[in-house]
C-alpha cells in the first residue's frame, strides 16, 4: 500500500525585522553598498515554510591599532595592513567582506587612550577607504565608549553606522547619538532571552525605531559556552516567529573575537598532539562556531581570518541555495 507523508509545517505568526546598514549618497551617506539583514519568516534556512528575503552577512573585524595580542596566524595572514585600519578595511573588502566591523581599540584608557577626535578621524579614514557599511565598536569601557562613539556618530552623520555596544548599564548616550545622527545601534546582553528583550524595549523607549537595532546575544566559542548562546538564539528566534515583537531584531555574533581567543586557536605550544594541525584547527574552530550559530539564527557573523570568511560565505550560499 503506498504511503503518504505529510510534512508538518509551522504557521509562524511573526517575523524578524529588516535592518539596513549603510546609506548611499542619495540617502545622505557615502556608501557604495548597503546591506539589509533580517526579515526571516521561518527558522534558519527552512524556506519550505516561510520567506528568507536576505541571506546572513559576513563582517570582518578591523582594529585601529596593531593587534599585538592576536594569534600569530592572524598577524601573518594580514601582514602590514594591520598597522593601518583603512588599508586593512580595503583588504577585508577584497576578501569578500559584506560589512566592516571597526573596533576603536586604541581609545582604551588602559591602552593608548586616544581621544574622541582621533576616533572620528579613524572612522572618516575607513569610510573613505571602503564603500562598505560600517559597524563601529568603542574600546569596551563604558565612559570611553560614550566619548568616542558620540564623536564618531557626529563625524559620520547619515552613514547609518551600527554603533556598539549598548549594554543595560550604558546605552543612553549611544542611543541618543544614533538618534541625532541617523545611525543604528547594537544591543548586547549576556546570553539571556529576557535581558535581550528588555534592552530592546529600553532602547525603543528612547524613540529609536526598531528597524535601527541589532542584537548581540553574546557569543561563546566552540567548546567555550557555544551551547548556551546556541540555545538562547534558538529561543529568541522562536519567540520572534511566534510574534513576540521585542525579540524580532536581527542577531549579530562576534565569532572571530571569541574563537581566536580560545587556547585552541591562540597558541600551539604545549598543546596535545590530538588537537591536530594548528592552522587547520584554528580555522575549523572559527568556521564551526560560525556555521553552528548561523543555523541557530545569526544574521551577521563577525570574523577575523580571511580563509574562515571564504568558507563561511560558501556555507551561507549552500544553505540558501537549492
Amino acid at each position: 500500500m503506498p504511503v503518504t507523508v505529510e510534512i508538518p509545517k509551522e504557521k509562524w505568526t511573526g517575523k524578524v525585522r529588516e535592518v539596513t546598514l549603510g546609506a548611499t549618497a542619495d540617502e545622505g551617506g557615502t556608501r557604495q553598498r548597503k546591506v539589509t539583514v533580517g526579515g526571516e519568516g521561518t527558522l534558519p534556512f527552512l524556506d519550505f515554510e516561510g520567506d528568507i528575503p536576505n541571506p546572513p552577512a559576513v563582517a570582518f573585524e578591523v582594529q585601529d591599532r596593531y593587534p599585538e595580542d592576536w594569534s600569530a596566524l592572524l598577524k601573518e595572514v594580514w601582514g602590514d595592513v594591520l598597522h593601518d585600519p583603512g588599508a586593512w578595511a580595503k583588504k577585508a573588502a577584497e576578501c569578500g567582506a559584506d560589512i566592516i566591523a571597526l573596533k576603536l581599540q586604541s581609545a582604551h584608557p588602559e591602552g593608548d587612550n586616544t581621544d574622541a577626535a582621533h576616533a572620528a578621524a579613524t572612522v572618516k579614514a575607513v569610510l573613505s577607504a571602503t564603500g562598505l557599511p560600517l559597524i563601529v565598536y568603542g574600546p569596551g569601557q563604558a565612559e570611553k565608549d560614550n566619548e568616542v562613539l558620540v564623536a564618531v556618530a557626529e563625524a559620520a552623520k547619515g552613514e547609518r553606522l551600527a554603533l556598539g555596544n549598548c549594554e543595560d548599564k550604558n546605552y543612553r548616550t549611544i542611543v541618543a547619538a544614533a538618534l541625532a545622527h541617523d545611525h543604528l545601534v547594537i544591543a548586547k546582553t549576556p546570553i539571556d532571552v529576557n535581558l535581550a528583550k528588555q534592552l530592546n524595549i529600553l532602547i525603543n523607549d528612547m524613540r529609536l525605531d526598531l528597524d535601527r537595532i541589532l542584537m548581540d546575544p553574546t557569543t561563546g566559542a566552540l567548546g567555550y559556552g557555544l551551547e548556551y548562546v546556541y540555545s538562547v538564539m534558538e529561543r529568541l528566534r522562536l519567540a520572534a516567529l511566534t510574534g513576540d515583537s521585542m525579540t524580532q531584531q536581527p542577531m549579530i555574533c562576534t565569532v572571530g573575537e571569541e574563537a581566536w581567543r580560545t587556547k585552541e586557536s591562540k597558541v600551539n605550544e604545549g598543546v596535545p598532539a590530538a588537537w591536530g594541525n594548528w592552522a587547520n584547527r584554528s580555522i575549523n574552530w572559527e568556521v564551526i562556531t560560525a556555521s553552528t550559530l548561523l543555523e541557530s539564527g545569526a544574521d551577521i557573523i563577525v570574523l577575523r581570518h580571511p580563509e574562515s570568511a571564504k568558507l563561511v560565505k560558501k556555507t551561507i550560499a549552500n544553505l540558501v541555495a537549492h
Binding site: 503506498p2 566552540l222 567548546g223 556555521s291 549552500n318
Partner: protein, 448 residues
C-alpha cells in the same frame, strides 16, 4: 506519544482489586502515566490492553544499538526538536569510512590510528566511535578480509557498506555477531539485506533517495520482514537539503508520530562537497540537526577535535551544566603562603583555570564557589558569583585554617565587585587577576 492517565485507565480491568498495590485502578493508571509504576504489577490486564499500552509507550524515535560490548553506540530515542526544550539524549556516533581498495597494511594502520585517537575536554575523554568499511572493490573475499582485519584490530563499532548481498553475507560472517550496521537495504536488495540483518541480529540502514514516502514504505516492508533496528538514509547530500530533510524527519517522528520514519538517521557529510573543510561544516550541522550516525570520509585530528567538542556542547543537558564540586582545591601542593585564586564551579571555567595554574608550575590554592555551574560573567550577571557568595565560600571551606595570608585574587571579568568584597572580607587584600585563564601563568609569576 505517551497516553494520559485517563486513557490508560480505560485499558485497565477497572475492578479496583488493589493487587497492584494501589487503592484504585485510576490511581494505578495515574502512576503509569507518570512512569512511576510498571504495567506488570497488574495481574489481570488483558493481552490486547498490554499490546496497546506497549505500542503507545514506544519511543517516537527508536533507540538503535550499533556494535556490542563497552564500545557500542546507542542512537535515537530523542524527544525534542530543540535542546532547550529538555535535552538531546544520545549523541550521534562518529565513524570514519575506509575502503577495501586500501592495501591491507595501510588499512590496518588507518584502523589503529582511528582506534587510538582520544582527546580530553573538561576532564572528559572523547573519541571516534568506529570504522565504516566500504566494499569499493566489489570483491566479496577482499571485503571479508578487510572487515575481519578491522574486527581483529578494534572493538569499536563497525558499519559495513556494500550493495551486493553476497559481499555483505561474507563480511557479516567475520564480525563475531557484534551487530555492525548493515548499509544499506534499497528497493533492489532489501529482502536479502533484511534476511542477513535478521540472521546476525544487526541493525539495518535503509536508503531511498529524495523520497520520504518511498522510504517509509520500504521501512514498513523491512519491519514486516522481522528487522526492528532500522537506521534511515534519506539520500540527501547537500547542506540545505540535509537541514530541511533531517528537520522534517525529526518533526514527522515527534509531532506526527509517524512510526515508519521514527528511526535514527545516518549521514555522509563528505559526499557531495568540495573539501574536507566543507565536510566538517556539514558534519557539524548533522551533529546539531539531527543525525544519529555520521560517517566521515576524512580523519584528521584538526577536524575531528572540533567536531567532538561540538558534540559535547550540543549534547550537554541544558538543565545540568557540567559542574565541579565547590571547595578549596590544592594545585601542585600549595603551602600556607601560596597564592589564592577564586572562580566558579562551571566545569569549563574550573578546567581552564586549573589547567593554566598547573601549567604555570606555581603551587596555588583555588577556591571554587558554587555558582550553579555558570561561567564567571554569566554567574556574576545572574547574582550567583558576587561578593557575598565569595565571602561565604571563604568561610564555608575554612580557607583561613589552611592559608597564612589574607590575599585573594578575583577574575578580571568581575573587577567591579572589588569594593563590595573588601566590605565582605574586612582586612583582606582583594586583587584583580587576569580576564582570561591563559594569562594566569604570567600573573602568578608576579604574585607576592
Amino acid at each position: 506519544m505517551g497516553l494520559s492517565g485517563l486513557q490508560i485507565y480505560k485499558l485497565l480491568p477497572r475492578t479496583n482489586c488493589k493487587e497492584c498495590g494501589y487503592p484504585t485502578c485510576l490511581a494505578f493508571a495515574m502512576k503509569l502515566a507518570a512512569k512511576q509504576a510498571e504495567l506488570s504489577a497488574c495481574p489481570h490486564v488483558s493481552e490486547e490492553s498490554k499490546a496497546a499500552l506497549a505500542a503507545a509507550s514506544a519511543p517516537p524515535i527508536r533507540l538503535v544499538t550499533v556494535g556490542s560490548g563497552d564500545k557500542k553506540v546507542e542512537v535515537g530515542n530523542e524527544t525534542v526538536l530543540f535542546r532547550h526544550e529538555k535535552t538531546f539524549y544520545h549523541q550521534p556516533g562518529l565513524f570514519v569510512r575506509l575502503k577495501d581498495t586500501l592495501p591491507l597494511v595501510e588499512f590496518e594502520a588507518a584502523v589503529e590510528q582511528i582506534r587510538d585517537y582520544s582527546v580530553e575536554r573538561v576532564g572528559i575523554p572523547l573519541w571516534v566511535d568506529g570504522i565504516a568499511i566500504e566494499n569499493a572493490s566489489g570483491d566479496e573475499a577482499n571485503f571479508a578480509t578487510h572487515v575481519a582485519a578491522a574486527r581483529a584490530k578494534t572493538e569499536q563499532s563497525l558499519v559495513l557498506i556494500a550493495s551486493a548481498p553476497g559481499s555483505m553475507a561474507a563480511a557479516l560472517e567475520k564480525t563475531d555477531e557484534s551487530a555492525p550496521l548493515v548499509y544499506a537495504a534499497t528497493v533492489d536488495n532489501w529482502k536479502e539485506m533484511a534476511e542477513l540483518a535478521a540472521k546476525h541480529k544487526a541493525p539495518l540502514a535503509i536508503r531511498v533517495d529524495d523520497d520520504l514516502a518511498a522510504l517509509a514504505e520500504l521501512t514498513g516492508q523491512v519491519k514486516d520482514a522481522g528487522v526492528e533496528d532500522i537506521v534511515l538514509d534519506p539520500g540527501i547530500r547537500d547542506l540545505h537539503g540535509s537541514l530541511v530533510t533531517l528537520t522534517q524527519l525529526r518533526r514527522l517522528a515527534l509531532k506526527s508520530n509517524f512510526r515508519s520514519l521514527g528511526y535514527p538517521i545516518v549521514t555522509f557529510p563528505g559526499e557531495g562537497v568540495d573539501s574536507v573543510e566543507e565536510e566538517t561544516i556539514q558534519a557539524a550541522q548533522h551533529i546539531a540537526k539531527y543525525a544519529g550516525i555520521i560517517i566521515l570520509d576524512h580523519f584528521s585530528p584538526a577536524t575531528i577535535y572540533p567536531l567532538l567538542a561540538l558534540r559535547q556542547n550540543i549534547y550537554t543537558d541544558p538543565q545540568k551544566p557540567i559542574q565541579v564540586s565547590p571547595g578549596l582545591y590544592e594545585i601542585s601542593n600549595p603551602k600556607p603562603d601560596s597564592p589564592l585564586l577564586v572562580t566558579t564551579n562551571f566545569s569549563l571555567t574550573y578546567f581552564s583555570v586549573a589547567g593554566e595554574i598547573e601549567g604555570s608550575g606555581r603551587p596555588t590554592w583555588l577556591l571554587i564557589v558554587d555558582a550553579e555551574g555558570m561561567s564567571v560573567l554569566t554567574a556574576w550577571a545572574a547574582g550567583k558569583f558576587d561578593a557575598e557568595k565569595i565571602a561565604k565560600s571563604v568561610q564555608q571551606f575554612s580557607v583561613t585554617d589552611k592559608i597564612s595570608h589574607q590575599k585573594i585574587v578575583i577574575p578580571g571579568l568581575v573587577s567591579t565587585i572589588l569594593g563590595e568584597l573588601e566590605e565582605e572580607l574586612p582586612g583582606w587584600d582583594i586583587r584583580v587577576g587576569p580576564r582570561e585563564a591563559m594569562d594566569i601563568p604570567a600573573y602568578l609569576k608576579t604574585w607576592n
